[in-house]
């Protein structure tokens, strides 16, 4: 166990910080600390330009291997990049679904043609992606996907059905979809993984208005939408394997960057408490200290996750992480509003208040998406503690 960074890592940290300082200014200055979950509607056009600025500096897809167009950085350096990016107030990444989800999936499971066609656009920040997994009847029970797909005589694929909670579909060119290719199949069998362009007449995108007022998610309707014959990833019927495969590669390198943003929000809460005198309230002081404890836990927990050893997906610290950060974040949102008091109730554009209101509302989604609290606790009990599964009714 060693917390001392190496000189090479220190130099790399300085390089990232310096690049961010020189580029995140001027016409990009308005993007400081903007974007990301809960704030995705902040100037998407400019944030796409920012993606291309990053690409010009070779700061997209830093963890990808060089032959895929990435920088091939070590885990340590990826962590440093994400930390310094967030520390500098780098905006929420428009390209994160491409860079973090579909790109690595294609690198692992895609054909050579698919890699050649899609990876460069992700690296260059010119093509953006949406994820089509959840459906009205397939939320926690994701394997219950009902969207259908079939192959036409010319080899192309057709998709019929509906996806939901599709983040940023309205800002994306492409979507990857999990659909049932074997009629009558059940659960995780008989699913296929397809890549579709969103700009076609038989795809309709309908925004969902959130409790916080904005619309980052959508419903996406497919009415015989077309995917090219070469745009099936993996084999027909192996879609579940492709869809889940990503979790095995995910090492959580971006979590320390996410934590930098959490630390920024925590500082906003402390500043708000100092400004309005709430910081003298003993209960508020207890809760601020409690929130700080959570920040320290998340940092060391992430370092444990990233250290070597067992398969990452099975490590105890990895199993608890999503449940821990989402509930911590939700608590921070409530603390922020309790610190603000009545000032928090007024709709505001004040940069000291608006982000805290966003935090309060959007963190309600944190404990629901990507595995609800209840699903997380099942996973922890079953994988972490070897407790038996709830008996399921015979189908």
């Amino acid at each position: 166990m060693n917390l001392q960074p190496s000189p090479t890592d220190e130099a790399f940290r300085a390089e990232v910080a310096d690049w961010m300082r020189r580029h995140l200014k001027g016409r990009f200055a308005s993007l400081l600390h903007r974007g990301g979950p809960g704030d995705e509607e902040a100037d998407p056009a400019l944030r796409k330009e920012w993606e291309r600025e990053l690409a010009a500096g070779r700061w997209t897809c830093v963890g990808w291997p060089a032959e895929a167009g990435g920088r091939g950085l070590s885990i340590e350096q990826q962590v440093i990049f994400h930390e310094e990016y967030a520390r500098a107030g780098g905006p929420g990444r428009m390209g994160h679904i491409g860079e973090g989800l579909i790109g690595p999936t294609l690198i692992a499971f895609g054909s050579e043609m698919q890699k050649r066609r899609f990876l460069p656009g992700i690296v260059a920040g010119t093509e953006f992606w949406a994820q089509g997994y959840s459906e009205p009847g397939a939320g926690s029970d994701l394997a219950n996907v009902q969207t259908k797909c079939w192959q036409e005589a010319d080899g192309s694929w057709r998709v019929q059905g509906q996806k939901v909670w599709t983040s940023l579909a309205h800002e994306s060119e492409w979507i990857f979809v999990l659909a049932r290719s074997e009629p009558g199949s059940k659960s995780r069998n008989g699913l296929s993984f397809l890549l579709l362009p969103l700009s076609q007449s038989n795809v309709r995108i309908q925004p969902i208005r959130q409790m916080s007022g904005g619309s980052e998610f959508n419903e996406v309707f497919f009415d015989g939408a077309v995917a090219e014959s070469g745009h099936l990833v993996g084999k027909p019927g192996e879609g579940w394997k492709v869809a889940m495969g990503l979790l095995e590669f995910e090492r959580g390198v971006s979590t320390l960057g996410q934590q930098m943003h959490f630390a920024y929000e925590f500082d906003l809460v402390v500043k708000a408490a100092q400004a309005n005198g709430a910081s003298a309230n003993p209960q508020i002081r207890q809760r601020i200290a409690q929130a700080w404890c959570g920040l320290r836990v998340m940092r060391y927990n992430a370092l444990r996750m990233l250290s070597g050893g067992e398969r990452p997906g099975l490590k105890r610290e990895a199993l608890i992480y999503k449940y821990y950060w989402s509930n911590w974040h939700r608590e921070l949102g409530k603390l922020a509003m309790d610190v603000l008091g009545p000032a928090g109730d007024a709709i505001s554009d004040d940069p000291r208040i608006r982000p805290l209101q966003q935090l309060f509302f959007f963190s309600r989604a944190d404990t629901i998406y990507a595995g609800t609290n209840e699903i997380q606790l099942n996973l922890i009990a079953e994988r972490g503690l070897d407790m038996p599964r709830e008996p399921r009714p015979a189908v």
């Binding site: 166990m1 700080w292 959570g294 199993l319 922890i380 407790m387």
Partner: protein, 378 residues
Amino acid sequence: MNFAFTADQVMIRDAAQSFLADESGSAAVRAASASETGFDAGVWQRIGSELGWCAIPVAEEHGGLGLGAVELVLVLEQMGRQLLCAPYFSTVCLAANLLTQVGNEQALRRFLPAIAEGHLCATAPLSSGADDWLDAAAQIQARRKGEVWTLSGHCPRVPDAAAADWLLLFAQVEGERKAALFAVPREVAGLKIEALEGWDATRRFSSITLDGVTLPAEDRIDDASRIEDGLSRAAALARLAIAAEQLGGAQQCLDLTVAYTATRKQFGRAIASFQAVKHRCAEMMVRIEATRSAVYGAAALAASKTTADALALECAVARTLASDTYFYCAQEAIQLHGGVGFTWEYDPQLYFKRAQASSHWLGNADGLRERIAQALIA
């Protein structure tokens, strides 16, 4: 930066786990804690001379192994898990720790080699304030006349005092602003040690009264130039040690509960298969792993170069989480064991009592959170 344990650290942890599982099981703990001394002298002797655990944090120049907080935390975690009854915590985590952080050169040479060899048993107050023993210092007055110190006062809670050869006690010296530290031999005129019978029988406490105890000049053992910084560091490390024990205790509460619910059948199936039970065990695991991250993180910080303030803050975080997690898991263990969880026969009660007793050693969670708040908000 690497957060993985070294092979040696894993070996120390595994050795501690297997030794303590053999020698400090439930029956052994119950027998030791009901005995007159409160611990098994044979096990304590093996820990000191055979396993060398007392030497872990002692510097090599003083006869120790010169290992760091990480190794110590790994051993303490297993001790807490098995509720080891032995004066290890008081000798190593209080006395040796205080000597190392604030002791003068002469005192280091005088006491540390014997502690490292497992030949000397020592202790220090485990007071309940979050103010790094200032409360303890205020209750004993020391006056110097020529080459002789005279100490009078009271110390309400000293662990393992009856077993200790030496008691390290804080005192206030007339005309001095800072606390002073004295080494008081157990057999000295004017020292009264009164055993306190506690609900948690796995760690014995005594109340100490000094009525004109006289000591030679060399028994004042602090190095005045190090006392301020050193007291903060020693208190931080002692809190980290408590947190490590608490983490182990919490883990055992979860392990006992998972094992019990797998065998207990109701409605025709193991109660471990009900989500109402699984989710509560999962919640225990979340809090335990969070605590583990904080404890290992603070240990890694303690093993590297850092300021006293940064160390105090990080150890306060670990200790706050560990106290809350331990009590939570102990109470959940009782609840999820159902009726038998309330009996003397089953073990959750032992952990429940230790969780409560340890919750205020060197400050309770609320007091430490206020200290954290002071550091963050002022």
